[in-house]
């Protein structure tokens, strides 16, 4: 058998973005020996791309704000599907997590009184997002990173990718991983495992996500037997760049709208006034006049419709384009130039200023930007318990974007940075406790051997046995007919096809027919995966890495599409043209994607029952 290194630890944290780092710090504070595995270099994870801010009801800018209103906004934004326990813990704890970052050296923008400043954002009743210009994520990841590397019992493994969770019975006991730089293998033996691997955006062509976001955690958990939840809900951020083609999808922060930016169509109309849903009508301005008085800071003024939740704004832009009122390159105009002074724009939105200047030769202090929806965030993920972040597999925990429940059908901007801090900490603590309370089990040699075979399979030219990606314990399929060398598939080509399928069959608007077609095409594509061949050696070989990532992307794409097919209604980020309205019965359930001996199944699970007192509060028209 292939040689491998063995690393023993109490808690294995897979992923070193905000959630993974926060989890590692928490586990380490509880005395656990932590192995922190990062697919990229430390500090490069997608958390650095979070621009606008971290949501926390500090009440620094508007003292009427409190956790209860944050909780209400989150539930309403989720279109009632969020796990209320998670939303409550999140709203209560996020101010503490933000203040703690400040004690660790983070430097947020200040109010005139010298407190942490907070900005407006979509779906948040009051200015709530603590921020640093438009590079909040960088500030947070750097603060966590510098804090973590000085803790003695955290060891960081950079550019190391986990390819399999190792189990003993129903318990996660470690993982197999490979080092990108050398291609060598490493087995982590752990008391417990935390998945903090981020999202799935790379399954789509137009995306703000980087190469890392291939649904690794989602697929690793699924293959380990864990339930996934809310997989039909993918957030399409309303404002990605649309021009030039090479940067299509690159994020334009919601902070542009938070700081007064407006959306205009090709006829010069501020169209968002035409798209205000009933549920938000009482809290949204109805006319430009009203919206402008909000920008001028008038007490009690209604919020402009550009700050409606992301699902609403993304759909509105799509509709404008479809009805022929789009910008020249198929988007809408986002105008801050006529709303704020050039100085203000450069100070509050410096990276947006540079991004457009350098990539689109456009000065945002003088001209409007062109923007359109881009795949941004996965609401769905590993089903976890609110108080422990535990998945349905023993010893397996999840936090951050890879976990789910917190955001339901739609996430509010700013709630992901707070989510990863709050639940990163909880996951770290609980995983450390679990590792201390349960004696360690070493992974079985046979299991390790199977995982190694899978990881190295793309190099094999003679492959008598193939893995079946859909279910871990499923039979391995024999496919002698596939291994002719001339039938080798190029993983980059497969990836392109996958992105095309997801874009056209499971994109921002869906129908049952399209979803079925998409699922069929995904199943056909899945059959071709074993034919992928990695050319070249093991050392830093992106072709090989992509072969393995594609297995994860296929699993998540199938889970997503199958859950979307079952939800025969439109809610939040999930829009069905064949079922354009809410279905009250479906509004009472989450979709669970479950692995089983017969393959993947989708089951409906009733929402957790919210206490009456909180429910009444959420339902009130205005607070």
């Amino acid at each position: 058998m292939e040689d491998f290194e063995t690393i023993e630890c109490d808690v294995l944290v897979v992923g070193a973005g905000g959630a993974g780092l926060r989890a590692a710090i928490a586990a380490s504070e509880y005395g656990a020996k932590v192995a922190l595995v990062s697919k990229s270099l430390l500090g490069k994870a997608h958390t650095v791309m979070a621009e606008g801010g971290v949501a926390a009801a500090l009440g620094n800018v508007d003292e009427r704000d409190n956790w209860k209103i944050h909780f209400r906004d989150t539930i309403r934004g989720s279109k009632n599907l969020a796990n209320w326990e998670m939303a409550k813990i999140h709203a209560e704890k996020s101010p503490d997590r933000v203040r703690e970052l400040e004690r660790w050296g983070a430097v947020f923008d200040r109010t005139e009184e010298g407190k942490i400043s907070q900005r407006n954002f979509g779906g948040h009743r009051y200015p709530r997002l603590a921020h640093v210009g438009d590079r909040t994520g960088l500030e947070i990841i750097r603060t966590l990173q510098d804090h973590a590397v000085h803790m003695e019992n955290i060891e960081v493994f950079m550019e190391c990718t986990v390819s399999d969770i190792l189990k003993s019975g129903n318990r996660a006991v470690g993982a197999l991983a490979y080092y990108r730089s050398s291609g060598k293998l490493v087995v982590f033996e752990a008391g417990s495992v935390i998945l903090a691997t981020g999202g799935i955006g790379k399954a789509y062509r137009v995306t703000s996500n980087s190469w890392e976001y291939t649904g690794d955690g989602h697929a690793l958990a699924y293959l380990a037997g864990a339930d996934l939840i809310d997989m039909e809900f993918v957030q399409f951020h309303p404002t990605g760049m649309v021009w030039p083609p090479s940067v299509k999808g690159t994020l334009v922060t919601e902070g542009v709208r938070g700081d007064g930016g407006i959306l205009v169509n090709s006829e010069g109309e501020r169209f968002m006034f035409n798209y205000i849903p009933d549920v938000f009508a009482a809290e949204t301005a109805k006319s430009e006049e009203e919206a402008n008085s909000w920008l001028e800071g008038e007490e009690g003024a209604m919020r402009p419709p550009e700050l409606l939740t992301r699902d609403v704004v993304a759909r509105a832009i799509m509709t404008e384009v479809k009805e022929g009122r789009g910008s020249p390159h198929g988007g809408a105009f986002l105008d801050i130039a006529s709303r704020q002074s050039p100085d203000y724009i450069r100070r509050k939105l410096p990276s947006m200023y540079h991004q457009f200047k350098e990539l689109a030769t456009l000065d945002i202090t003088k001209e409007p930007m062109e923007v359109g929806p881009t795949t941004h965030y996965m609401m769905g993920g590993i089903k976890v318990e609110a108080n422990t972040a535990a998945s349905t597999v023993l010893g397996l925990y999840a936090a951050g974007e890879a976990a789910a429940g917190m955001h339901g059908a739609n996430r509010l901007g700013g709630n992901s940075l707070s989510d990863l801090l709050v639940f990163g900490k909880i996951a770290g603590q609980c995983a450390a406790n679990f590792a201390q309370d349960n004696s360690k089990i070493s992974p079985h040699g046979k299991e390790i051997e199977n995982s190694i075979t899978k990881a190295l399979e793309p190099f094999e030219t003679n492959r008598p046995e193939r893995r079946m990606p859909n279910y871990p314990a499923g039979p391995r399929k024999s496919s002698h007919d596939l291994d002719k060398k001339d039938a080798d598939e190029n993983p980059y080509q497969i990836h392109q096809e996958l992105q095309e399928i997801m874009e056209s069959h499971a994109g921002i608007v869906r129908t049952g027919k399209e979803l079925e077609k998409g699922i069929h095409r995904l199943e056909e594509l899945e059959k071709r995966l074993p034919k992928m061949h990695a050319k070249g050696g093991r050392k830093y070989n992106p072709g090989w890495h992509l072969c393995l990532d594609l297995y994860n992307m296929i699993i998540t794409s199938l889970a997503l599409s199958r859950a979307a097919l079952e939800r025969t209604e439109s809610r939040g980020a999930h829009t069905r043209l064949d079922y354009p309205d809410y279905d009250d019965e479906l509004g009472k359930v989450n979709m669970i994607v479950r692995p089983g001996p017969g393959g993947m199944s989708v089951v409906k699970s009733p929402l957790l029952k919210m206490p009456t007192e909180l429910k009444d509060y959420v339902l009130k028209e205005v607070v």
Binding site: G43, R110, G114, V132, S246, Y492
Partner: protein, 243 residues
């Protein structure tokens, strides 16, 4: 439109420049060209990247010998008939193709005394004017291009004696933080060798975040070292008090 691009490939004992012809799309950046080559002609081509928006600092390389983030460098910045050459950074050991081993930087960072908070009652109060400078340094995306062009590191390979500009601004960001209580000046003088910088400003010119590394961080830090160790009054006082 087609254009030619040359990429350095291979490992330290076996280097070569491979030439590719690619179809150029409007607005294309150097990293797009590399990805296109990877997807069609060289699947095992090693390149490091993440955000593709100038925010993570992963895709640093030398384009026609100049330090660049390949995701923010447009092909149209160079004449169409010119063959572009992309090579990895010279200052750090090479792993393969365009990927460097930058782990030394992470080791240096660990040696810097972390932030030490001034505990007080209530929420910390800091004014924007007090933190502007610190925020400038904290914009750093750790692309390590400043390290790459610093001649102390690049030409003289004095990594054991000099921390490099990245860690001068990291230290300055901590030292100038209004609520930090850490002591780093001695370390900056000794282990991190701030005296070796002779302010040629190459780092400042290379910085994609436009941080005034030399003027705003290195020079003020040099002054702190001088104040601490070469102030004649302080020196005499230390002699008298036996410190």
């Amino acid at each position: 439109m087609k254009r030619k691009i040359r990429l350095q490939r291979g490992e330290p004992d076996n280097l070569r420049l491979d030439e590719f012809k690619i179809e150029v799309e409007q607005g294309m950046v150097v990293l797009d060209a590399i990805h296109l080559i990877q997807a069609t002609e060289a699947p095992d081509l090693a390149v490091r990247w993440n955000c593709k928006a100038g925010k993570c600092g992963s895709c640093s390389a030398e384009v026609n010998g100049e330090p660049k983030l390949t995701c923010m460098t447009r092909l149209s910045d160079y004449p169409e008939d010119q063959t572009l050459t992309v090579q990895p950074m010279k200052t750090f050991p090479l792993i393969k193709d365009l990927v460097n081993d930058v782990s030394w930087n992470y080791e240096v960072n660990k040696q810097i005394t972390p932030y030490q908070h001034t505990e007080g009652t209530g929420d910390p109060i800091m004014f924007q004017g007090e933190v502007d400078r610190v925020q400038e340094f904290r914009k750093c995306i750790e692309c390590f291009l400043c390290q790459d062009v610093c001649h102390v590191l690049r030409s003289h390979d004095m990594k054991d004696e000099f921390a490099g500009p990245r860690f001068m601004i990291r230290t300055a960001g901590l030292e100038m933080h209004p609520l930090d209580q850490g002591e780093r000046v001695e370390h900056l003088r000794d282990e991190h060798g701030i005296g070796l910088c002779n302010i040629t400003k190459c780092c400042t010119y290379a910085c994609p975040e436009h941080i005034e590394i030399t003027d705003n961080a290195i020079i003020p830090m040099k002054e702190r070292v001088v104040d601490e160790y070469y102030d004649p009054l302080k020196w005499m006082w230390n002699m008298v008090t036996g410190k």
